[in-house]
Symmetry: C2
Subunit: 649 residues, 2 copies
């Protein structure tokens, strides 16, 4: 592995982090036991596995599925998730299943390195003719990420070699060099995958290709116009109307706002951050900071969800946060977490990890059912019977509740949340030669080398349910290094003691840095106070005006009908009403809920009239105990209304 040699910290890789208990151990257990097998079954059922044997279309159709061009990305993400799982939890059956798939993938590769299940069989003359829409590069990126994860977990190099050959093939086709075409991915993803591949293999050409993709994007003449003209199409024919959709409307270095398809945007921005870090390109760092500020200060849901609009699966304009119709794709929150993680390594500030934590615990985790076998593609912040933010026919008397599904025609989200859950260890720590950053709090142990010595750091905590975290350092001999523990942006009051002695250290850039010579057994006790917070919206957010969100620790809460009765819109939580949290051991195997005094405010009449004069009808305010659960757990019990933003007074 080629780690960078700049001053940047680097993530401590997955294989060094052991998670045996607590919040993420449970999620990872479900991921291994339920999610990974369920996704494989769907890959098989829909023909995505057999597709690698290059069966012609009619045979694929017999498998009961419509072939689409993005199938390979699903395979790639599944393989990546398998890699993360096998990394810490060997499973010979799963490994055999993956190996068989890898054999098929290898055999599907063309002699020139090209690798795709769709084009060679179904449209051989269409290869590389529509980078804008046809996702060959997107598929390649996910397969590369899968290959790297699988190789790192198993040491089996076959799939990495296959994907390296494919990357070489792409490199031979695209670039600024003589004889190459000036293309780049319509759906970014390959950029960040190529940087990963560069780091894994040390091959500079992969970084160069990623850098080329970033720099070429949106340059005049825009490549998507060139290839469209070759297909006999005009720019005006582009279904998405504008290259803002794919962040190619102007060169990257001129971009100042997050635009278009949200997942494309954050995968691209993650790739830009990777290239900025590996090349030391300060201008790209500035571009990244500018886009970050725009996105997080004007276009991010309180859940870390992105993209209000169905039409472009993405961004609209600043401060626009519809709740029921929020698109807020699971993949978008995940991609935001990816980008945030990279931004930290480029620019060490806790705010990036705050956003990463927000996106992971809320908008990402809501994408999977508690049982691990059903998924949301779209994550609204309010739900009402008949309303389906995924459908343009939403609300036409379907009488349905919006619920998670086992699969989607475009099932990008299920394997994405699976790989995120499997790799949470990688998001937990970073380090430089003499500093260890603790980003996320959960029960785990990490083994690392710091200041030239082998060290183990153990976290004991029930976070996010509990505010106490004990961090113990073990090493053979005393070792001098900085332990930088993150004080989350949501935390108004924390206490930190070492071996029982209270320290009064102030956080800088979101971290309290404890610099000392650590003795084996030294324990940092951190308390991150988790009172129930009422969150109010920025004054420009019209959809949430007069409303609050309940937050505790990193978790955004919501009201469900099964706890609070129907007509959640009529519930008011007065500003002075006491709210408290308590742990319910029986709710989803243990969940902290919020309860408090609230009012149900409704016209005091049985009149069927839609519109009532206040001069004639009184308003009744009925006190009751409101109960909120973490947003990510919604839609796991009886169907009904849900609401994140609740009226306040």
């Amino acid at each position: 592995m080629n780690t960078n040699t700049f001053t940047y910290p680097r993530p401590i890789p997955l294989e060094h982090v052991t998670i045996k208990n607590g919040f993420w151990a449970e999620r990872q257990h479900t991921n291994r036991q339920t999610t990974i097998p369920a996704i494989y079954n769907k890959l098989e059922e829909t023909g995505r596995v057999e597709a690698w044997t290059m069966h012609p279309e009619h045979e694929r159709r017999e498998l009961g599925s419509v072939v689409h061009m993005f199938w390979d990305s699903d395979t790639g993400k599944w393989l990546e998730s398998v890699g993360y799982s096998l990394c810490k939890t060997p499973n010979p059956d799963l490994e055999a299943q993956a190996d068989a798939l890898i054999d098929m993938i290898e055999q599907a590769q063309a002699p020139d390195g090209y690798l795709n299940t769709y084009f060679p069989v179904l449209a051989p003359d269409k290869k590389w003719t529509n980078l804008r829409d046809w996702h060959e590069m997107y598929n390649a990126g996910h397969l590369i990420e899968g290959a790297i994860a699988y190789y790192r977990a198993t040491g089996k190099k076959k799939i990495l070699d296959v994907l390296s050959r494919y990357a070489d093939h792409i490199d031979s086709k695209f670039g600024r060099e003589e004889g190459k075409r000036h293309g780049y991915p319509g759906h970014p993803e390959l950029e960040l995958a190529l940087v990963k591949l560069y780091r894994e293999t040390g091959e500079q050409r992969y970084l160069n290709l990623a850098t080329y993709f970033v720099n070429e994007r949106g340059q005049d003449p825009i490549y998507f116009d060139i290839e469209a003209a070759e297909r006999g199409e005009r720019r005006e024919d582009f279904w998405a109307q504008s290259y803002r959709y794919c962040q190619a409307h102007i060169p990257i270095r001129e971009q100042t706002e997050a635009t278009g398809h949200a997942v494309r945007a954050c995968y691209l921005y993650a790739g830009i951050a990777d290239v900025a870090l590996e090349t030391g390109d300060k201008e790209l760092l500035e571009v990244s900071r500018r886009l970050w500020e725009n996105l997080t200060q004007t276009q991010m849901y309180v859940t870390g969800g992105l993209g209000p609009a169905h039409s472009n699966e993405g961004f609209t304009f600043g401060y626009d946060f519809p709740n029921e119709s929020a698109y807020s794709e699971t993949c978008a929150s995940i991609s935001l977490a990816f980008w945030a993680h990279r931004m930290f390594h480029l620019d060490q500030r806790g705010e990036y990890i705050d956003v990463m934590e927000r996106a992971i615990y809320n908008g990402s985790l809501s994408g999977i059912s508690y049982e691990g076998n059903e998924f949301f593609y779209v994550n609204p912040l309010a739900s009402y019977p008949n309303i389906d933010p995924y459908s343009k026919w939403s609300g036409i008397n379907t009488n349905k509740h919006y619920r998670r599904q086992e699969w989607y025609f475009c099932p990008c989200c299920p394997p994405n949340i699976s790989r995120l859950i499997g790799s949470i260890g990688e998001y937990t720590y970073s380090q430089t030669d003499d500093r260890v950053y603790v980003h996320l709090y959960h029960d785990n142990t990490v083994s690392l080398d710091v200041s030239g010595q082998a060290v183990q750091i153990e976290q004991k905590t029930k976070y996010p349910w509990d505010e106490n975290i004990a961090i113990t350092v073990q090493s053979e001999s005393p070792v001098m290094f900085d332990l930088a523990v993150r004080i989350p942006g949501w935390c108004r009051s924390f206490q930190l003691s070492i071996n029982g002695e209270k320290m009064s250290l102030q956080p800088k850039n979101g971290y309290v840095v404890v610099s000392r010579e650590w003795q084996s057994g030294d324990t940092v006790s951190l308390t991150l106070a988790m009172p129930v917070e009422r969150v109010m919206p920025h004054r420009e957010i019209r959809q949430d005006a007069g409303q609050i969100v309940l937050q505790r620790g990193p978790l955004i809460y919501c009201l469900e009908e099964c706890d609070n009765g129907p007509r959640l819109a009529n519930i008011v939580i007065p500003d002075d009403a006491p709210l408290s949290s308590h742990f319910e051991a029986d709710l989803f195997d243990g969940t902290t809920v919020i309860t408090g005094e609230a009012l149900r405010v409704e016209p005091d009449t049985d009149s069927p009239d839609l519109y009532l004069f206040k001069s004639k009808v009184d308003v009744k305010q009925e006190p009751f105990t409101v109960k909120a659960i973490p947003y990510y757990l919604w839609a796991n019990r009886e169907p009904g209304e849900m609401r994140v933003w609740v009226r306040s007074s």
Copy 2:
């Protein structure tokens, strides 16, 4: 004219009502001076006039327009509006323009009576092959209505004869009789037009055909399936997914809720009411009452707008009233007024006229600019920059304000609002042999025969700005009849005096009935108190919870940014804040506005953070004077936010 001979009252026709001053005189002046000529220019510019000369498509395209199948309905509605205008205000130039058009229409008629600009030239083999989608019958209905209005205004029978021949042609093709097909309109409208034609000509077959259309609709097997099969299509291929869209999913007599495309629905229901009245069919009366109750008690916006959804231009489910994305087509409010008017004649209750008045003064009139040359198709109840309820790409950084347009690809609304304004006289009064109903209040004089005598009734009033109405009866000799004056549902307190003497009569079914022998010069003075009312939503309306609408008299009010500054969502009108109204003579030539004390409630911080903890940031409540204008006048000044529902406390 064949008036019905049952006990039903009948409207007093347009030609008997003279409107010289006041609210509607101004609107009609603008309609004559600006709207009617502007619409004709567009008909001409887009090729709709020349189309009657049966020019082939390529010539039509040279006119700069894409031909669509509904063109003839626009011509029909324009001609209808011209008829209403000429009826009371002769204009030889306009009449000559209409006559020339009528000559073209006559020459376009096929020997068998068929009359349509699209099919004979562009798809001669497709005639009558897709009643579900292709609007031949809808076009026929509007042409018939236009022909009747023009004939009644001018006495020129040519166009009425042309359309009678077309109606005969349709009658020869469709019906239950041997050899006829069992079709009916995909877009209802022809039903009510045929009843009008029956009333005008006395030809029973037109009533029979309308009755057949009403009864056949939704019968098993559904005709739309039959014709689809003939075209080689399946029901599942229907783009709108369900025949609920066109109210043909089940037979009319089994229908209990308003469904689908809102304009289709109300035109159909109006036709049903017409058939019920003319045939005395009590079951159809019950069906109508049931549909009425469902629509007005669960599916009508406070503006009298109908149809929350863009996808079907229509209904979704009960109590669903999105504001910014409300479709609420201008034609839908107009069609509701039509239906309400007919319901009154079938079932004499003031609530129908209450809804008619609501729909006319709010959701219909908002469809036209104050200058009379621009139109809304879609009438949202809140507006925000970038949000366009007419576009599925709404909000994708257009930076546009939603504004009225001069024309639309499907311009059904402009001539519809024009014909409504022109015919307001017809909605003002009804009568039986010995009773006169006064439905609407505005400055006008009506001449009628009642109890066998010629009588004139004059209204002097500045309604809806002012609450006082003086109604004076003139006749050659004393005459005994009931004067039934409507006490609107919105009116909590009224006073009625006759020749200065206060009467204490109670309204029954929405009308105070004054039965007496009227002396010429007798004057009824009616005062309908118009305090500012705060309207609150039914408890099931989630989108408006915690908010109020300001209403005064029949007018729904709204806030605009140009009066109140931006961020209207942050404005709170406290329940105890005084609100008052005053007449602004300079605003749109005289408008009553509402002002009062309100608060601008916003976080007290300049932080760019999207989400703020109440534990850390105070809320500031800045008092200011809020100003509301009538909803129908919005978007006539500087562009900006608009909001009908305002937060209360």
